[in-house]
Each structure stands twice: as C-alpha cells, then as structure tokens.
Symmetry: C2
Subunit: 414 residues, 2 copies
C-alpha cells in the first residue's frame, strides 16, 4: 500500500518553517505497513494544488494532505478540493458546538468566521479534531483515499492517532515493514561500506541497506518488507548480527535507532549510576538532550550552566588563577569544572564543556569552534580539545554529541 504526503502552504516554500509533520507522518504510516512514495510541498495556489493532487493520485493509493484549513483568507484547501471533486460543503453541528464550548471556556467571543470552520466537503467523512477548530476529512474517490488535516502539528497528530491510522489498519490487510538501525561512530562512511560490502552484496531483494551519515555518526539501516512478521524480523536480526561481527564494539554506539542521549540513558539506568553536567559553551543543550529522555530523573541529578566567570568560580570551584592564567577555554578550566560539578552534585559521572561557540569571542589562539570537553568517572578525568566546524548552533550540537560519546566510552570502559 503506497501513500503520498502533500503539504500546502507558502511557509514551507519560503523557508519559514520546517516540515516536521512529514517525518512524523511517514514514521507512523510506515509502522502500520504503508510506504511513502513521495512527499510534496506546494504553495497556496489553487491550480498547483489540484495538479499536485492529481499527480499524487496517479502514483499512490492514499494521499494525505495537510495545511490550508484555517479560518483565514490564505487558507484555500477546502475551496480547492470542492472544485477538484466538484462538490459543495456541509456543516457539522458537532464541530460548531465543540468550538462554541471551547471559546466560552477560554473567554473568547464566538464570531461568524468561526462557524465556517465547521464546514467540511460534502463527499467527506468527518475526522473530529479534538485539539483545534479545523476538522479533518476522509474522502474516498475512484478507489483511492484522500485524507485532509490541519497543518498544526499537534492537531494533525491527534487526528492521525485517533482516526486515520486505526481506520487504514482496519480497511486494508497491510504487509509488515521492519527497520533495524545500527549506530556506528568513528568510521568514515566509505571505509565502513568497504568493510561490510560482502554482507551488503549478500542481502536478498526484499531487504535493503542504507547509510545515514551525520556528525561523525553513520547509521546503518536494514529495511525489510514481508508478510510473515516473525520470519522477517529473524532474517533482519541475522544480517544485523553479521554486520556487528565486522564493526568493532567501540565503534558501535547502539544496536537500535537510539539517539546518543537514549544510549546514555540506557547505560546509566542499567548500572544505577548518576550524572551531573557543567556547561559553558553548550549553554544547556547537553542537559536538554539528557532530559528529553523519559525517566531521566532516575539518573540525572542536575547541571550548572556557568556562562560567566563568577559562576565558574563561586559555584563550580574553578580557581580564579586558572581563569587568569589559562582562560576559560583551556584544559585546566574544563578539568576543574568537571571535578567541581562531580563533587558538588555527588554524581558518579560528570561532563563539562567550555569553548568558543562564536560568532564573537574568538582570539588568535582560540578561534571560533575551539572547545574543551571533559568527562569524569570512577576512573578519573578524560579531557579532549575539538575544533568544531560550522555556525554557533552547529558548534553547540557537535560539542554535545562528542561529549555524550566520550561519556559513553567512559561508562563502557573503552
């Protein structure tokens, strides 16, 4: 079963917002056995929308449309679809009532314009939106399914989870799509490809291998499709084991599609050890990553974001002489920071970072991107200098990723 995603709205085409809906929808649809053939973003232009829908229906069985359902003049999805299917609109009283109630609760006046939100296409079935005023629609047309949802992520997700995914699942007998990802670190993509080429060449038609490189990590993804879930899973696990026999353990960051912070979470939960962090140039990003993981309060004690000298001195115990002689961006400082936070927060492991995230603050011997990272654990302190490329946000991200990998190695004893 193949689907396409069609996103409507200029905001994506002028680069104002990132299409995060697509990634979420693709993942969810994949998990119920629907593969995505194409993702298309078009502008708020009637003819273009109609043409794109026509092309999508020519390739796929299901087309999911998001965006352009709001109450304002730039929202033209409904009128365009009326044109396309040559139908009118019908009012859903259930939706009118829901909007009214909601507005009363929030003390907002109910206006004529709000009632228009309750109109849906005559040839559609209502997909109730519990999180907003624009209802979703399910349309069946010449053997194909067209699903229309608002573009606000939270509203789209509600409609997908509550109605679209269960209804697709009930309607079709879908195959199983299984992905298995290994996360490797420290081996360049091409070298990795060379080493595992024999396994890759031996893969059957229905299992594909993909390489996803980013920031020094290369994810290897095995994707298989089949009708027997267990047989397919076993087959994919066998190929994964063959790959793992080739890649050294120190270079295998995870055997699941885990983010680095999830890897750390699993390791610390398992060993019942704790973590504290002292961040300067990363400004809280490592702590944020760690705390996005549910249950992180089990092993994460807390952090100090020490952006100024006095905080480094008074709250972390960095010596004033250290800052004076070596500066904040130095091995001496990063070591005192990591020692300070580990002691003060009584943690088993600690991370510290200090560097020049830019664009300002550089000196001839300390350029933008120069960062010191330290990790402290039961076996002592490891400190490392890196030169991170890119803009401020890239430097923050790269440093954070590197720090999490240093911690992983320290926990595992590599």
């Amino acid at each position: 079963m193949q689907a396409e995603l069609l996103t409507i709205g200029d905001e994506i085409l002028i680069g104002q917002i990132i299409n995060t809906n697509a990634v979420w929808m693709a993942k969810e649809l994949n998990s119920i056995g629907v593969s995505i053939k194409q993702i298309t973003s078009v502008s708020d232009d009637k003819n273009h929308i109609k043409k794109a829908l026509d092309e999508a229906l020519g390739r796929a069985d299901i087309v999911l449309i998001t965006g352009g359902l709001g109450p304002t003049k730039d929202d033209i999805t409904k009128t365009t679809l009326c044109d396309y299917f040559n139908v009118g609109l019908k009012k859903e009283e259930k939706v009118v009532e829901f909007i009214k109630e909601n507005f009363v609760k929030r003390g907002i006046e109910f206006l004529q314009v709000h009632e228009q939100q309750a109109l849906i296409l005559e040839n559609s079935e209502l997909l109730f939106n519990h999180n907003g005023t624009a209802p979703g629609m399910w349309i069946e047309h010449l053997g194909k399914i067209i699903i229309c949802m608002p573009g606000v992520p939270f509203e789209m997700k509600g409609i997908m989870t509550r109605y679209v995914l269960p209804q697709l699942n009930a309607k079709f007998s879908l195959p199983f799509i299984i992905h298995k990802t290994l996360v490797t670190i420290g081996i360049p993509e091409s070298t990795l490809a060379d080493r595992i080429s024999e396994v890759e060449d031996g893969l059957p038609q229905h299992i594909k291998l993909a390489y996803l490189p980013n920031f020094g990590l290369v994810r290897l993804r095995l994707s298989g499709i089949g009708t027997d879930e267990n047989a397919l899973r076993t087959e994919i696990e066998t190929y994964a084991s063959q790959l793992l026999a080739i890649i050294p353990p120190a270079n295998t960051a995870a055997t699941d599609d885990l983010k680095p912070e999830e890897i750390i979470g699993q390791l610390l939960s398992h060993s019942k050890q704790t973590l504290a962090i002292a961040e300067s140039c990363t400004g809280g990003y490592i702590s944020h990553l760690i705390t996005t993981v549910p249950g992180s309060s089990e092993y994460f004690i807390g952090s100090l974001i020490a952006y100024s000298y006095p905080i480094k001195i008074n709250n972390l115990g960095v010596k004033a002489e250290t800052l004076e002689h070596y500066g904040a961006v130095s091995e001496e400082c990063v070591r005192e920071m990591v020692e300070g936070i580990k002691d003060k927060f009584k943690a088993d492991f600690a991370i510290s970072t200090t560097g020049i995230a830019g664009p300002g603050g550089a000196t001839p011997d300390k350029p933008v991107g120069m960062v010191w990272i330290a990790v402290a654990g039961p076996k002592g302190i490891v400190a490392r200098k890196i030169m991170a490329n890119g803009e401020r946000i890239n430097i923050i991200e790269r440093t954070s990723l590197m720090a999490l990998d240093m911690l992983r190695r320290e926990i595992l004893g590599y």
Copy 2:
C-alpha cells in the same frame, strides 16, 4: 525566476530524518529573489527520480537536487542523472587530491572506493565541496539549470553559499522578494483575522498576507515582490504599521521574524540587565534557547538545572518543608526557586520552572502537563500555573515559550 527542490533518499520517506535542508535552501534562494514552486522528496529509485526531475523541469527554471551522492551502494543519483542526460562521468583530479590530503590528515587509509567520489557528470561544471568528499555539480540543459549537491546539511550549505547563490545572482537579474513578519501572542488566529480584515482586503496584488499559528503565537507575514527594492520595502512597512495600529502592544511579541529568545536578547542587551534561570521540568531547554543567540553571554549569567530534591535544597535554597508540604510542583516551590536563583546568581531577572513533563511522575492532583512557572524582576515575582498538552518534548517546549513570554511582559511592564 522559479526553482524547485528535489530531495533524494529513503531516510526522509520513512521518517528517519527531518528535511532541514529544504527550509534553509528555500530561505536563501528567496533572499536572492528566487521563489520556490515545489519541494519534492522521492526515494532512491531510478525511475521515480527521473520522472520527478522531468516534472520539476516542466514547472521551474532551476532544479536543486540533494542527496544520493555518497560512496555507498544506496547512492544512485549520479548514475541516474547519467541515464537522464545520456552522458558519462569524468574524473576531477582536484577532488582526488583534496580527498587524499584530507584522509592523510585524519590518518584514514585511501581506498579505491574513495576515488569514485571524484567523478562528476560529463555535462556538468564542478561545484567544489570544501567540507566533504562528494562534489556538487552545475548542469545547464535546454535552457534550464540543474544543481546537484550532497545531502549532508553542512556540505550542502558550503556549496550553496560559496558557489550556487553567487552564480545564480550573477547569471540572472532577479526581482526583490521582501518578507516582513509580526509576531503576535494571546489572540486566536480567527479573531485576529477578523480584526485586521480591512487592512488585509486593501492589500495590492503583489503583497500577500499569511497567518502562521503555533503554540499560542500567530506570526503575520507580509510578502511582496517587485523590481524597486526601496519602494517595495516602504510599501510593506506601511501595511505593517497599519496592522500594528490594530494589534495591542502587549500582544505584539515582535515586529520582526524574531524567535522569543531573540526578543529577550534584544530587550536585555538594550537595558543592560541580566538573566539567570532555575530549571526543573524544562531540563535546560530555556537556557539552550537563550544561549543560541549570539552575544547572549552579555546578559545571561547562568542556570541551575535542579532535577533532584537535594540540588533544589542545597543549591537553590528551596526549603525542605516546602518540598515536603507542597511538593516540587507547587507555587511555593517555584517561587523559592526563582528567588533563590536571582539572589545566588545576582541577576536582574530570573525564571524558574517545575512541573510534570511525563510520561511518568504524575499523581491524581498533579497530572502530566501541569507546570508552574515563575519570573522574578525588579518589581517582584509573578507565578503562573499552566496545563501543557502533548508529549514530553511538547510540554518542555510550551513551558519554555510561555516562560520567555512571561519574562518579556515583566521586562516591558505589561
């Protein structure tokens, strides 16, 4: 001048990665007067790629392709384009030398497979990749331009900035595209639309108004196109002023497309005041947002991420009785946290957060999404309870946005 973006790779279609390249490319192309007609993501499938390229060339003057240029077997962009244009490959010695040098520096063995990276299409001009091994290509074909780049964001950005944007700029006389965004907060989209409908109806053909709602913010974007840059800018500013005359100042978060953390940055830089933060449930995310802004070290002193009781008590001065009687998620605790961080870090303003980000940790009277936020400033402390919807990451984001807006109002005295 119209362009299309064509992204190649299964990783986007199965929801493994977000297409962040598209947003960046669209923004940059827009800034030199190139509008984007469509963004398309297709899989690593030869026929599908050729068909999508054909369709894109039918609609636009320029097609920018990213992805599938790596050295591994799943990378088929080059062979597909050879087929499409019916040409072979040529080797770029400059690229071979660059890869060799780079590998020697990093102590990696140079393999045969790496030399293939230096092959580009016979009918293309080299776009040198200073950040990686896969070169970009510039192809002119039947009056259209096809640009091909690697999908790794950092590499694509380097090639775009260094070659693609300047070359497009030099080749064409492009019109001016100007966007002006007003950020409103606290007025529902439909109510806002109703209030400003007269201004909207009076807009000329070449200026469009768009509404971008998210998390309680509604961005209003005026977009104009024209040949006289100054006249267009003046015209857009005039309509923006008309909108600002209708929207109350307290509901106007920014008169530029600024993120909340950038708004805070401008306010604090201007008033030469400082900020400190005590985060519990937001886990460092507010600090991260604040420190993504260049120059934030001017006004941001630091934060304490107090994820555990002992840190709240020992490092923030929250009373043990408070935690015992009211719990960490309480008005009493959030007030003591904000007072503690403001005093200890000697800041003019402070923020504190404490709540249940979930999925665990909820109790009958403290459900997932219940969060207390406090802001302290020269005029005292304001504390507020919110019920945030969504998953862990959404609760963290919503809380952070709300906290930044409370701080904005406190600084401005609303």
